[in-house]
Structure formats: structure tokens, C-alpha cells
């Protein structure tokens, strides 16, 4: 079973800079990491390959330094890594990101399943899975906590507000995973070194994906950030109850009574 995994490099603590002219946000930081849930995404793919055989390709879009997360994925045991890196991808909102990823996935030709994390640590929109599924015309099975595949059929356990749903579909599908789907493996030092020394990362530019690059980056992004501002939530100042715990406790319970809260 051939699987495409979409991963993302995210800042581990970041400064947001906002370009007033373009209305796009850039999140730069000195240190970046693999989006935490993507470890689970990669683990899910590797587990499926262990059960069913196949080939795993990881794709990420980002600046050149995003190569690091692909190296980490290679260290975990994926087969092929593709970095979408080009100025034309810059300033992409989720729609333009999903569109670029869909072009890359179509170019890889072979896949039975696409797996993404439920959402990224920095954006937290959860858009890319469903939008990518639409561009690839695949059924989407989101928020999965279990995946099983029998022949051509895939069954997932989907987390909902009320519990879970079991969803069934034929391959190919797009799946997004929840954090608790598995316990990601920790690659050995040797595997990580190999990933840096011996493995090759394919770098694809905008033109490699589509001769018309209009749909990428800022150009292809319908949403703009109009303003970014600090919002301190302040209501005033609390009246501090003073004294030993039993004194403050008694006073507090009295206040609850006055307010009809007890």
C-alpha cells in the first residue's frame, strides 16, 4: 500500500511578523520542529506499511530549512521525501497550501492513501486535510484514532463530541489522525545520522508542479489578515481576601451565598 504523508515544520516558540502590504503572516523562529502530531501521522503510515507492505512518501511545503523535518521522517523510516520550496509558495493560506500539496501528490502518481495530522500546532485550523481531499477528489476520514485496512477497504474510528463513529470506505482515501492514535517510535541515533548522511530529499519548485503558478502562495490565497493586535484580557482588579485559609474559605463561601451561587 502506497502512502503519502503530509507533514509540517512549525516554530517551537515563535515571533509572528505580519506584512501590512500583503496581509500575510510569517512565523519565523530561531528553532523549529516537526509539528508534534505529525510524529503520529508518520507512525500511522509506518505501522500500515509493516502490516501491508508498500511505500511511504512524505511531503512538506516550506523554506529550505523545512528539510529538517523530512530528515526526521526519513529517520523514522519513510521511503522518500519531497520538499516543496519556492518563492511562489510564500504567503500561502490553507487553500493555497492544500492546492500546492495536491499538485505535488498528483505528480507522484501512485498512492492508496494520504495521511495528515488533524491540525498543525501553529495554525490550528484543521483545514488542510479536508481541502486537500477535495482537490484530490478523495473521501476524507478525519480525526481518526484507529485505522485498519482489509484488502481494498479501510475502516477508521473517528473521534466526535459524543464518542466515536466507525467509518468505512474503499481506497484511496485521505485520513487525518488524532494525537492518541499511537505512540510514535523514537528513531535511533544511527537512523537519524543515516537520514542526514545518506538519504536524498527531492526539492520541487512551483514550475515543477504546474506551469501556471497563479494558484500558489499569496496569489492563490483568498484570505488575508487585515490586522494583528495584542489583546490583553483584563477586567479590572480582584479583591483579595486576606487571612489564614480557614478565614478566607469562610469569607468565600459567604460571598457564594450572597451571590446565590451556593
Amino acid at each position: 500500500m502506497d502512502i503519502i504523508v503530509c507533514i509540517k515544520q512549525v516554530p517551537d516558540s515563535y515571533d509572528i511578523s505580519w506584512d501590512k502590504n500583503t496581509g500575510s503572516l510569517s512565523r519565523q523562529s530561531a528553532s523549529a520542529m516537526l509539528n508534534p502530531i505529525d510524529k503520529n501521522t508518520l507512525e500511522a503510515a509506518i505501522t500500515l506499511r509493516e502490516e501491508h507492505g508498500g511505500f511511504i512518501t512524505a511531503i512538506t511545503m516550506g523554506p529550505d530549512q523545512a528539510e529538517d523535518v523530512l530528515r526526521e521522517a526519513l529517520g523514522m523510516g519513510i521511503d522518500k521525501a519531497i520538499l516543496l520550496s519556492d518563492k511562489v509558495f510564500a504567503g500561502a493560506d490553507t487553500l493555497a497550501t492544500s492546492y500546492a500539496l495536491s499538485c505535488a501528490i498528483k505528480k507522484t502518481h501512485r498512492f492508496d492513501m494520504v495521511i495528515c495530522g488533524k491540525e498543525s500546532y501553529d495554525g490550528v485550523t484543521g483545514h488542510v486535510g479536508p481541502q486537500l481531499a477535495e482537490f484530490l477528489d478523495l473521501p476524507q476520514l478525519t480525526n481518526s484514532t484507529e485505522i485498519s485496512v482489509k484488502k481494498n477497504k479501510v475502516l477508521v474510528k473517528q473521534k466526535t463530541e459524543d464518542g466515536y463513529r466507525l467509518l468505512e470506505a474503499n481506497l484511496p482515501v485521505l485520513i487525518t489522525v488524532e494525537k492518541n492514535i499511537n505512540q510514535p517510535r523514537i528513531p535511533s541515533m544511527e537512523d537519524i545520522m543515516d537520514a542526514y548522511r545518506e538519504k536524498i530529499i527531492d526539492i520541487w519548485r512551483g514550475e515543477d508542479l504546474n506551469s501556471n503558478t497563479e494558484g500558489f502562495g499569496l496569489n492563490g490565497s483568498p484570505t488575508k489578515s487585515k490586522s494583528v493586535y495584542v489583546k490583553k484580557l483584563v477586567r479590572g482588579s480582584a479583591e483579595i481576601l486576606k487571612g489564614e485559609p480557614d478565614v478566607t474559605a469562610r469569607r468565600l463561601v459567604e460571598i457564594f451565598k450572597e451571590k446565590g451561587l451556593f
Partner: protein, 336 residues
């Protein structure tokens, strides 16, 4: 991507119902849509999809809809992305709404981005505020991990799509004298064409009220220190008839499960009584509780931001203060 800039059309709210009961956020959205349409005149349409759901339509009109479109069919018994996307987009291509709003629930977060990709337009998720400025929807959302908010617009493409977090908008009172139009959508999908089947439903919801609707909430932060610390909070919550909640870190530490998380990446609450125990008051959390009516904070750090949000504060170690409160309540209730 082709641009889709035609104007006109109204303001849609996609109604979520489970077992024939409207999910609260859908009602909150209808009130908000009503308020927005008063500023920028447009009709409010409630889009209701399901099986045997027609009797809900009237409630949607009372809540603010001018028009209810009902798509009723056995194929819609359970929410499925493909079915709902097809129905909403088919009608949207015809009616060309300006704005489509979804609750930021599991369904809304699954459906809204898919609809936005099919209609080749923008989507803004997890908004905490909506406004209309020069004819555009301005969707405000907090930035994870920062005291930052951002206003997102979708200036050219239509419709403008947003998901709004449950609990951030106030529920308006139904106006039973309101009248509206009820239309039906003719479903042409066939079950054989639908790729995803719902093979089972496992209900694990507790009997408790959803946290978003609780009147009293006792919330633990990093200061709680352990799983056992949350048991102490639970005792206090039970005595007060309150629900338990938590900030991000205790959830990340595994002291309490995800469903209790309140804040930007968790739930939004607006209870009558909020008691924060060992909660610092960082924006990640406070964005989800600022609507609370009466706030009490217990923290040993006099500089904790939570004291700027609270009505009353107790400066002290929660391990001493909470047992004292528990004892006092037990004494008053005659339990000891």
C-alpha cells in the same frame, strides 16, 4: 485558481442537528447572523440537513432565520462529508450567498474547509468574533500561544466562510412571533454513489452537561501539580454542583483528559461561577473563560494575570485553601 467574485445573496447558517435536536452553537449563530444582517441588509438562511428534521424549522425561524432550506432524506441520517458538501455547494452555486457560517464543532471543522475548497474560496476557523466592515466579513481569531488576535478577511472570493467556536456568542431569546419561509431542497444523491459508510456509532458522552453549558466550573491549572490534585478539585466541584475544567498544561501532562480543556485550543465557557485553582491566566486559557460572570482565583503568585480577570482572589497555596473551602462547605451543608 478561478475567481468567484459574484455578489448578492445572503447570509447562511449551516444547522447542525443530532438526533433531531439542534446543536446549541447553530442557534447562537442564527442570533449572530440576525445581528449582522441588521448592519448589512441581507436575508438569513438556515440550512437544515438530516432525516425527519422538518419540525425543527420553526425553531430556526424564531431564532432569527428568514428562510429555512430543508434537505431531508434517509441518505442524510448521519452526517457525512460528501453528502453535506454536495447539498450545500449545489445550492450555494445557485443562490450565491455572501457568507456561510458553521459551528466549529467536529462536523463544522470537517465540512467548512471541504466546502471552501469546492467553492474555491477562503475559510477562517475557530473565530471568536464576527463583524461586517465595508461589506466584508471580518472574522477575528486568537493566535495560539500569544496575546494576539488577528482579523481575517476574504476580500474577493465568495462566499466568505467561517467556523465559530461554540459558546463565544450569546444565545438570543427566541421570538415566537417571527415568520419565515420554508423551502425544500430536492436531494438527488443515491446511496450507491456515496463512498463513505457509517458502520457504527459508539456513544461515550457522559451524563453531565457539556462543559460549555455548565453554570459553575472549577478549573485547575499547572499549580494543581498532579492527577491527585485534580481529585481534590473534583471534590470541591461536586460539593458546588460544578463541572471540572483545566488549562492546557495539565492536559499535556496527562493529569486530566483533553475533553476538560478550556481555552484557545479547548472549549469556551461562560458559567455563572468560575473558580480558577493554580491558574496563571495566560491568554491561551483566558480566551476561553473571559465570558464567565463571577470569577474567583486562587493562586500563590500575587502577579498572576488571573487576578486581573477575577472578581475575588485568594492569595495562597491551593493545597491549603481548597481543603479549607471544602471543609467550610461541608460544615454549612451539615456534612461534618
Amino acid at each position: 485558481m478561478p475567481e468567484n467574485t459574484e455578489k448578492l445573496g445572503g447570509l447562511w447558517v449551516i444547522i447542525e442537528q443530532r438526533h433531531g435536536k439542534v446543536v446549541r452553537v447553530s442557534l447562537e449563530l442564527l442570533g449572530e447572523a440576525r445581528a449582522l444582517s441588521d448592519k448589512a441588509p441581507s436575508d438569513v438562511t438556515a440550512f437544515l440537513i438530516g432525516e425527519d428534521v422538518a419540525e425543527i424549522a420553526e425553531e430556526l425561524i424564531w431564532q432569527g432565520a428568514d428562510r429555512v432550506i430543508i434537505a431531508e432524506h434517509a441518505i442524510c441520517k448521519y452526517y457525512r462529508t460528501e453528502v453535506y458538501t454536495d447539498i450545500i455547494c449545489t445550492q450555494a452555486m445557485k443562490d450565491k450567498p455572501e457568507i456561510i457560517l458553521f459551528g466549529a464543532t467536529c462536523m463544522g471543522r470537517d465540512l467548512a474547509p471541504r466546502v471552501s475548497a469546492r467553492l474555491k474560496t477562503g475559510c477562517t476557523s475557530d473565530c471568536t468574533k464576527l463583524a461586517i466592515d465595508s461589506g466584508h466579513l471580518v472574522a477575528t481569531k486568537p493566535f495560539f500561544g500569544h496575546d494576539l488576535m488577528t482579523d481575517i478577511v476574504c476580500p474577493v472570493n465568495r462566499p466568505q466562510i467561517a467556523t465559530i467556536r461554540p459558546g463565544v456568542l450569546e444565545l438570543t431569546n427566541p421570538d415566537r412571533s417571527r415568520k419565515g419561509e420554508i423551502l425544500s431542497y430536492d436531494i438527488r444523491l443515491r446511496e450507491d454513489d456515496i463512498k463513505v459508510k457509517v458502520a457504527g456509532i459508539i456513544n461515550e458522552r457522559s451524563k453531565n452537561l457539556p462543559l460549555e453549558q455548565a453554570e459553575k466550573v472549577v478549573v485547575g491549572g499547572m499549580g494543581v501539580g498532579s492527577k491527585e490534585g485534580f481529585e481534590m478539585l473534583k471534590e470541591l466541584a461536586d460539593l458546588l454542583g460544578a463541572e471540572l475544567g483545566a488549562t492546557n498544561l495539565p492536559v499535556d501532562e496527562g493529569w486530566i483528559s483533553e475533553e476538560f480543556k478550556i481555552g484557545q485550543t479547548g472549549k469556551t465557557i461562560r458559567p455563572k461561577l468560575y473558580i480558577g485553582c493554580g491558574v496563571s491566566g495566560a491568554i491561551q486559557h483566558s480566551a476561553g473563560m473571559i465570558g464567565s460572570e463571577f470569577i474567583v482565583a486562587i493562586n500563590k503568585d500575587p502577579n498572576a494575570d488571573i487576578f486581573k480577570l477575577a472578581d475575588y482572589g485568594i492569595l495562597g497555596d491551593i493545597n491549603e485553601v481548597i481543603p479549607a473551602i471544602v471543609k467550610e462547605i461541608q460544615r454549612q451543608k451539615g456534612l461534618v
